[in-house]
């Protein structure tokens, strides 16, 4: 969470990815989703840091899945947004929308 209390861009992307992936939102999958859907290539550690921070701030909830049904299969920690997380995401979008509304039609932004 940024110093102003809102979500950073990466946090918003991770939250959106967690919503999109539903019950399969574990760190490696979120990272892949960010790379494919948002064209954001971030390190595994960065994704883990963001997830842990969002969870610590009460915006994400996590649980461990059962181990994969293969030999040596590992359990994964999956994430889903909490109601507070969804609300924070909505507020962040509202802030951005307001800002965009205020610059709508500005000559520097062209047709935007």
């Amino acid at each position: 969470m940024a110093a102003h209390g809102g979500l950073t861009e990466l946090e918003q992307l991770v939250m959106l990815s967690a919503i999109r992936l539903g019950g399969e939102a574990y760190a490696a999958e979120v990272r892949r989703d960010l790379a494919h859907a948002a064209d954001r290539r971030v390190s595994a550690a960065t994704v883990h840091v963001t997830l842990v921070r969002l969870e610590r701030n009460g915006l994400l909830d996590s649980w461990e899945t059962d181990p994969e049904p293969v030999r040596g299969g590992r359990a994964r920690r999956c994430f889903r947004p909490t109601p507070e997380g969804v609300e924070a995401l909505r507020k962040s979008r509202e802030v951005m929308d307001r800002m965009w509304d205020r610059v709508r039609g500005h000559p520097r932004l062209g047709e935007a």
Binding site: A27, A28, A44, A45, T46, H48, V49, V52, R56
Partner: protein, 711 residues
């Protein structure tokens, strides 16, 4: 042992990341949740290694291990663990940062100490006594020794006096010597003679005894102070023909004159003489101790010459002058005066010291010794408490092992133990402050003047800072070693040991060392206390040289107006005994014999025998016959002892005429009757109700001062 999620036994055929990088990641990331990243990286490494040569995949893995975000992830996980171990989840929002972690530790420490109230109370009481003793003594040391005097440029204020051979306190001086020093010693800018006394104030309600200072000239300018109202006493106002003027103290003006603004010009009647008020001293000025009023002392140069040592001095060093330079100049002038006036100044030397040193005097050594003893007591208390905490830490190894298994780091375990120690030390410090406040109050009541400046002693910010420092030191002293020992607990050993609580194991040497140190300190303290008691016993056993049984001492002042001459004073003392039940009474200028009155052997040996004329004249002017009058049949001198007598009038109180020499060593005993002056302030009286067990024989000689040396 750290896990190796990508190690053998799991995906055995997959390529394995570089061993060193894996270990580094294992160090950087805590086990809890850290494995998730390590496994993700291992998976990706396997993918990359299958697609590209292994050095490229290995380089990628190293880069991932060294990324700042990896270390940041480790820190984030540590905070999450802090949150969980502190059971600190409130409404889904966890605490963050070091402050929250410390807060959680303090809460945990409170709970932990509350579970063992006996242990906690014992430790707090022990520390409270140790810290209280130290804080109390430091309060006195700070107020008496460390804080400067409340005057401008206090280091420049000096006291000059006649140096005693043994290097003790400075003796009083004669006025001509003071004037010579002020005139001829360039290092001393100003030097003022004064003497303290009391005077009876009349005409303003009930007659009251007021402490007064009789000064050669005004003191305020020497101290760098200005009067609140009016002016100071001018130099030309002293002397025989001086005007009767007085400067009153601020407290006197406030309490007795109700802070009247038009007080200048009013008159006060002291000892039957009217004095015109010319000034009011600033608040807090009461030099010498407790004086409320100052007026010029009447000086008759013909009546009181160099032999009459009745003046104390206060002066100020010249700008840029040093104490050692002034001392050298004083020695030089003393040598010149000794040659010029051999009858009165023979081998007399002048000493100088700062006013603070003179005020503090011999209390300095005693206070530092007390502080050292207090420190030893505190160390003993710390050793005691460390033993208790260490024993308790041994019983908590199981707890440490469980916490380690849950992911608590060694630093976190140390923090837990130190939090408890700090909490105990703070509680002990609070109790210690209360003990110190009570101790200082009790000391004020008991000191009876042996500790100077005690009125100015209070618990201030410096004392609080000292106590805080002591608390921090105490925390480390008794908390660190148990904390380190507990943090070194290995999982297996801790769980095993928790099954048999109380086992000491490898901490035995530490506890034995603490007990040894404690014993050593206790022995040192015991020896010190024993030596002090022995010294006190020896002091009480010293023979003062006269009978002390049934002798009473009283302070009184005879109004000069009612007793203007010696005959009237003699008459008063002659008539006093029958009216009061006393057998005999005699006046003396000083009330009791003190260390100042004891002539040192060296001094007595080099004292030049006075001529009959000069000695008689001097003593008739300034000496008192207290011994002869109070003991009409004085005690016989013990001829087995060899006594040496000072011939200085300020040191010989008995009488005027040397009569005989004793045992051929040049020492003298003195008998006869002396002549009291009109300003006597002390009275020695022998109680008539019961005769002394050792009745002196008539005609024997009396002793005037305590012996400097016995052989």
């Amino acid at each position: 042992m750290r896990r190796d999620p990508s190690g053998p036994g799991r995906r055995a055929r997959e390529p394995r990341p570089p061993r060193l990088a894996r270990r580094l990641l294992g160090r950087l990331l805590p086990a809890h949740r850290g494995d998730e990243l390590i496994e993700d990286l291992a998976e990706e490494y396997a993918e990359r290694a299958s697609r590209s040569p292994w050095p490229i995949a290995g380089l990628w893995y190293w880069i991932q291990a060294l990324r700042p975000s990896t270390r940041r992830f480790g820190r984030e996980l540590s905070e999450v663990r802090t949150m969980r171990l502190g059971r600190h989840r409130v409404r889904g929002v966890a605490p963050r940062g070091l402050v929250d972690a410390i807060r959680a530790e303090i809460r945990f420490a409170f709970r932990s100490l509350r579970q063992r109230p006996g242990f906690s109370a014992l430790v707090v009481a022990t520390l409270g006594l140790g810290i209280g003793a130290n804080t109390g003594i430091f309060t006195v040391v700070s107020g008496v020794l460390l804080s400067p005097l409340a005057y401008p440029d206090p280091d420049g204020l000096v006291v000059v006096g006649v140096e005693q051979a043994g290097g003790g306190s400075l003796d009083n001086m004669s006025l001509p010597d003071i004037l010579d020093i002020e005139e001829r010693v360039p290092s001393i800018a100003t030097l003022v003679g004064y003497s303290g006394s009391t005077a009876t104030l009349t005409g303003r309600g009930e007659p009251t005894l007021v402490p007064v200072g009789r000064v050669e000239k005004g003191l305020l300018s020497t101290f760098g102070l200005a009067p609140v109202l009016g002016r100071d006493i001018a130099p030309e106002e002293s002397g025989a023909a001086s005007a009767a003027v007085a400067v009153i103290g601020y407290g006197f003006w406030r309490d007795r004159l109700r802070s009247a603004p038009d007080v200048i010009g009013e008159t006060l009647v002291l000892d039957g003489i009217s004095f015109e008020i010319v000034g009011v001293a600033p608040p807090g000025f009461d030099f010498p101790g407790g004086t409320q009023l100052w007026y010029p002392r009447r000086i008759d140069p013909d009546d009181c010459a160099r032999g009459c040592h009745t003046w104390w001095t206060i002066g100020r060093l010249a700008r840029g002058a040093t104490l050692s330079g002034a001392r050298a100049e004083l020695h030089a002038i003393a040598a010149r005066l000794s040659d010029a006036f051999p009858d009165t100044n023979f081998e007399e030397t002048f000493g100088i010291r700062t006013l603070r040193d003179e005020i503090v005097g011999e209390a300095r050594t005693g206070l530092w010794l007390l502080l050292g003893a207090g420190l030893a007591v505190l160390l003993i208390a710390c050793a005691n408490v460390a033993n208790l905490v260490l024993a308790r830490a041994e019983t908590r190894r199981g707890e440490a092992a469980v916490r380690t298994a849950l992911g608590a780091t060694r630093g976190r375990l140390v923090m837990t133990m130190l939090s408890e120690s700090a909490l105990l030390a703070v509680l002990g410090g609070g109790l210690g402050m209360a003990v110190a406040a009570g101790g200082v109050r009790a000391l004020r009541g008991m000191s009876a003047g042996w500790v100077p400046r005690l009125d100015a002693v209070s618990i201030d910010a410096g004392v609080l800072a000292f106590t805080l420092l002591v608390v921090c030191g105490v925390t480390l002293a008794f908390g660190l070693s148990p904390a380190l020992r507990m943090s070194r607990t290995t999982l297996v050993a801790g769980v095993r040991r928790s099954g048999r609580e109380g086992a000491i194991g490898g901490g035995r040497w530490l506890r034995q060392g603490l007990i040894g140190a404690e014993m050593a300190l206790a022995v040192v303290l015991l020896f010190g206390a024993g030596l002090m008691l022995r010294t006190f016993a020896a002091m009480y056993a010293v023979d003062p040289g006269f009978e002390t049984e049934h002798i009473l001492r009283a302070d009184l002042t005879l109004p000069q107006a009612s007793y203007p001459d010696l005959e009237s004073i003699r008459s008063f003392y002659r008539t006093l005994p029958p009216s009061t039940g006393l057998r005999s009474a005699a006046p003396t200028r000083r009330g009791t014999s003190s260390s100042r009155d004891v002539p040192s052997p060296a001094r007595a040996r080099r004292s030049r025998p006075p001529s009959a004329r000069s000695g008689r004249d001097t003593w008739r002017r300034c000496g008192f016959p207290w011994c002869a009058a109070a003991t009409s049949s004085p005690r016989t001198i013990d001829r087995r002892s060899r006594w040496r007598w000072s011939t200085r009038p300020s040191r010989a109180r008995c009488s005027a005429t040397p009569t005989r020499s004793e045992n051929g060593s040049g020492s003298r005993s003195i008998s006869g009757s002396g002549i009291p002056t009109a300003t006597s302030s002390g009275l020695w009286a022998t109680c008539a109700r019961r005769r002394s067990r050792r009745s002196p024989r008539p005609g024997s000689t009396c002793r005037t001062a305590r012996p400097g040396r016995r052989s």
